[in-house]
């Protein structure tokens, strides 16, 4: 590769240089940075819709009995809330946004391996989301199956299940193609000298994620197609009245959807692994352990799916096998937590907003993960399965984990994305509201879950009222936090950001903020003795 130094600075990727200007320039761009940003904007829209749907549910649950709308509406609400949040927000999530924006720069590449395929994935994402959302407005009304589409209910209900299922199918393909792109990018386009074990840890986590995307998503794809076939053609794979097996549906669904939870969390863990050493100004502790634990989570996580089905009447043999495997997958997560905390030891810690969110992540993720353990044990799962306890578990880990990591990431890379800073004080306040509101919203759900409050309940017995009302107020605090954060980030321009505001060591901090179209003026190279996270 020839390297000549240009004398005038390259224009940043935010400036339109191609044949189109304005919006069209964005929509046709194959620049990984722009695609990442487009994912982010789209996701925020879906996310805000999902949040409002969630708050609507809390409103109805404020008191037992019917308050504002009927059970059919409620059933539709949690279904589309789950579909939006899972399939359009957290599954593409950090990988699509920051994987696209930062990963190629972090490994010293100009772009991903297949830039046009990347843009195509984005449009598949939009298409899939549009199809899934259209289910609300067409046919016999919003689907009411829950995001899990359990057969045979999903085959018998008259509501518009096919559109939702088909939307999820298309979204799955978008996810597969992103994963494919990332695998090839990381194999073929690392900077010279950067071996796999010198790659930063966020790319590492994306690598593990990409393999899950590629190997697990097709299974749910084919399963959803089978649901469509059943509804249209009277083929009975899962409908017992035609000889099918509903438990088989659950197996197929969770073969994907359990690994999918690691699609969500691995990039989140990766981001945290970048943020902590940066703000502690200290080499990450146990680099190899963290890298390998990502792969271990991906691999073992593939074989624990049936822990969602302990009560479905599986064989006792299968139940204990899956319980045991579930516990094994907790160990690599524990390793990461220990390494993060030890990285802070004897560091020089600067508590800026990204770091604050990272601390919040660790705390909430621990609660989410540890309650996952009581779900993984056979006897305790039987009691709390399909109760509010599960709802609390996954909100803690999905939104306390992935959500807070997302916020951490956006506060971390914001200066690089926009070349601007934001107001730290307001960021800290938004963190305070988010953190307090979050715990007030979901912690009571653990308790009423153990008391026996089932999930997906439009109405409930009077003994759960107090917990439900605490949750409602928590929801309000959260909403304030969200508004504070979004206005802080997007309402007005902050001061100009330096190239390296946090003192980070990965490649994205060596280039201008915002980065030029080609990322690097001089393609980076990693020397024999260079290590990632070389803080001196």
């Amino acid at each position: 590769m020839t390297e000549e130094k240009t004398h005038h600075p390259e224009p940043s990727y935010l400036v339109d240089t191609g044949k189109y200007k304005g919006l069209m320039a964005w929509l046709t761009s194959t620049d990984h940075k722009r695609i990442g940003m487009m994912y982010m904007y789209a996701m925020m829209v879906f996310f805000v819709v999902g949040v409002l749907l969630g708050e609507l549910m809390r409103l109805e649950l404020f008191r037992p009995g019917q308050q504002f709308y009927g059970p059919q509406t409620y059933n539709g609400l949690f279904t589309i809330h789950g579909i939006i949040m899972i399939f359009t927000v957290v599954i593409p999530g950090l990988a699509a946004v920051f994987g696209n924006f930062s990963m190629p720069i972090m490994i010293g590449a100009k772009d991903v391996a297949f830039p046009r395929l990347n843009l195509f994935s984005f449009y598949l994402y939009i298409l899939g989301a549009a199809i899934a959302l259209s289910s609300q407005f067409m046919g016999n009304g919003p689907p009411d199956t829950g995001w899990t589409f359990y057969a045979p209910y999903s085959i018998q209900t008259h509501t518009n299940v096919v559109a939702a299922v088909f939307g999820a199918f298309v979204l799955g393909f978008s996810s597969i193609l992103t994963g494919l792109n990332f695998i090839v990018t990381m194999h073929r386009m690392r900077a010279p000298g950067m071996t796999f074990f010198k790659m930063p840890l966020f790319p590492w986590s994306l690598y593990a994620t990409a393999w899950i995307q590629v190997l697990a998503t097709p299974i749910v794809g084919i399963t959803l197609l089978m649901i469509v076939a059943e509804r249209w053609l009277r083929i009975g794979f899962f409908d017992p009245s035609l000889g099918g097996d509903p438990v088989l549906y659950q197996h197929l669904f969770w073969i994907y959807s359990h690994p999918a939870v690691y699609i969500m969390i691995l990039p989140a863990m990766g981001v945290i692994t970048e943020i902590i050493p940066t703000f502690a100004q200290r080499k990450v502790f146990g680099y190899k352990a963290i890298a390998i634990s990502s792969l271990a989570i991906a691999l073992v996580g593939y074989f624990v799916w049936a822990h969602h089905m302990y009560t479905s009447g599986m064989s006792p043999t299968a139940r204990w096998i899956f319980s045991l495997l579930t516990f094994l997958v907790a160990v690599p997560s524990a390793i990461k937590v220990f390494n993060w905390v030890t990285t802070m030891y004897k560091g020089s810690i600067d508590v800026k907003p990204p770091f604050l969110f990272a601390l919040g992540f660790i705390f909430l993720f621990m609660i989410g993960g540890m309650t996952g353990l009581s779900l993984g044990a056979l006897a305790t799962n039987i009691h709390v399965h399909d109760t509010a306890y599960v709802v609390a578990h996954f909100h803690y880990i999905v939104f306390g984990g992935v959500g807070f990591a997302f916020f951490a990431a956006i506060h971390y890379w914001y200066p690089k994305m926009y070349g601007r800073m934001y107001n730290f004080k307001r960021a800290n306040w938004s963190f305070a509201f988010l953190f307090a509101g979050f715990n007030l919203l979901y912690f009571p759900q653990f308790i009423i879950g153990i008391m026996g409050m089932p999930r997906r309940y439009f109405d409930y017995l009077p003994q759960f009222t107090f917990g439900m009302q605490l949750s409602f107020f928590g929801g309000i605090l959260l909403l304030i936090g969200i508004v504070l954060m979004l206005t802080n980030l997007f309402s007005k321009k902050g001061a100009k950001a330096p190239d390296n505001p946090w003192g980070g060591k990965t490649y994205e901090w060596t280039i201008p903020s915002p980065p030029p179209v080609e990322n690097f003026e001089v393609m980076p190279e990693m020397g024999e003795n260079e290590q990632p996270y070389d803080y001196k």
């Binding site: 194999h187 073929r188 190997l215 438990v247 197996h251 073969i255 593939y302 074989f303 049936a306 599986m314 064989s315 006792p316 043999t317 299968a318 096998i321 899956f322």
Partner: protein, 94 residues
Amino acid sequence: MQTETVHITPYRTYAWVLIALLSFTFLTITVTWIDLSAITVFVALTIASVKAYIVLTYFMHLKFESSLFRVFVIMVLAIYVLVIAFTLSDYLFR
């Protein structure tokens, strides 16, 4: 970045491979005529796997690609086999 050493497979190899595949096809057909009852499926799948192995190594050039490709293929197949095995741990022990 390593560059590829171009490997040209002679036509003759492909011809032999084709003949092998065709023979295995006839083998499965004859084998399933003889009723082996319980192990029919097993035999048929074994022969199919041998055929698949041949297709992967020669037609799909795995033999001549970098070992990375082979590792991946083995990994994917292993994961798939494990998925089946774990699913059957439910169905076979009901």
